[in-house]
């Protein structure tokens, strides 16, 4: 796969497109609120603030490895929260 196409291929997996279509913004906002504060802070600073993990570490006085761990755990928990909140078929 050409390197320029890697990003596009990775960013739009079908399963997530399905999830996205069925999610309400309220569910995502609630799921973000349900994350532990440290994980939410790391994710929001990176995503909306445009900070690298090293900058987040510096801003929050946290070791870089801890910030990376929070990003990992936060995104994993976000996925669990959102898939759990999906309306089940036939229900």
């Amino acid at each position: 796969m050409p390197i320029d196409e890697v990003q596009d291929a990775l960013s739009t997996p079908d399963v997530w497109e399905e999830v996205r279509r069925s999610l309400e913004s309220e569910q995502v906002a609630d799921a973000l609120q349900d994350l532990p504060a440290e994980q939410r802070e790391s994710i929001l600073l990176a995503f909306f603030g445009g900070y690298s993990y090293a900058e987040v570490a510096r801003l929050t006085g946290t070791p870089p490895g801890t910030v990376k761990g929070r990003m990992r755990l936060g995104l994993k928990k976000l996925r669990v929260l959102l898939t759990d909140r999906q309306p089940k078929e036939g229900r």
């Binding site: 995502v28 973000l32 909306f48 603030g49 990992r72």
Partner: protein, 256 residues
């Protein structure tokens, strides 16, 4: 120089916590440029990390949905999100985003750093000051986003003929005595003048504070004021220190 903890050319047979961390950081576009380039190179080789990056990327791509819950109208939502987004490199599609960091903004800084230790010390101070400023700005943005996602009310402010092209919005969270004023394209003022914010109700205008233009296209201001009883919001030009009642020209007013 490889900045990854492994050879980018290797292919990992199984996911690990460390590889998940890299994928999460990638998904949030939070890698420094050198590491991002190396990881991008690695993704071409490693199907395990491709799967991880796709999975974490799917989670990260849902985050912008959280900002789409602005009330009371879709029009206001679009307007305020456009205002807020204009200072963010990538709100909807976080990867790849233009690196908005210190070095890219100041390409002259690197050679200067190598030449003079004195310059290094000065730049360190600048960087620290900028980080403090950016930290403050992002904290406000984060609080603003939290307010929006928690169902804050939004009042849309329009420019008067005094400041054509300017715009603004006031975000009043449901709880607390803090509101956020976003102003865009407000011009500089002569020395001795400031902008003053007014909460206007049936009993008349009440000052919500003064501010000086930052010189940047957009400002997000935290106001220690309660606009829940206000019908309208105005911003006027007043003498430095503010006036007890609006006396200068109104530059922003709304909702219309």
């Amino acid at each position: 120089m490889n900045v990854l903890p492994f050879d980018p050319k290797v292919s990992h047979p199984l996911p690990t916590d460390d590889l998940e961390e890299l994928a999460a950081v990638w998904a949030l576009d939070a890698m420094p440029p050198g590491e991002r380039a190396a990881y991008r190179e690695h993704l071409v080789e490693c199907s395990t990390c491709q799967a991880l990056a796709g999975d974490f990327g799917g989670s990260a791509d849902l985050i912008p949905l959280a900002t789409q819950r602005v009330q009371p109208s879709a029009n206001l939502k679009s307007r305020i999100l456009a205002l807020v987004a204009s200072t963010r490199p990538a709100m909807v599609a976080p990867r790849p985003r233009p690196f908005a960091g210190f070095w890219q903004k100041r390409p002259w800084a690197a050679p200067a750093l190598g030449l003079l230790a004195v310059t290094f010390l000065a730049l360190t101070g600048i960087l620290q000051a900028e980080l403090r400023q950016r930290n403050s700005q992002v904290s406000e943005q984060e609080a603003l986003l939290a307010s929006i996602s928690a169902g804050a009310s939004v009042m849309n402010l329009s420019a008067t003929g005094v400041a054509p092209g300017a715009s603004g919005a006031l975000v009043q969270p449901q709880a607390g005595n803090i509101a956020y004023l976003i102003v865009k394209d407000l011009g500089r003022l002569p020395s001795g003048q400031e902008y003053q914010v007014w909460a206007i109700s049936s009993t008349g205008p009440t000052s919500a504070g003064t501010f000086a233009p930052s010189g940047k296209p957009q400002q997000i201001l935290t106001l220690e004021a309660d606009f829940r009883g206000a019908d309208k919001v105005g911003v006027s030009i007043e003498p430095r220190g503010g006036s007890p009642a609006p006396s200068g020209p109104i530059v922003l007013f709304g909702p219309g």
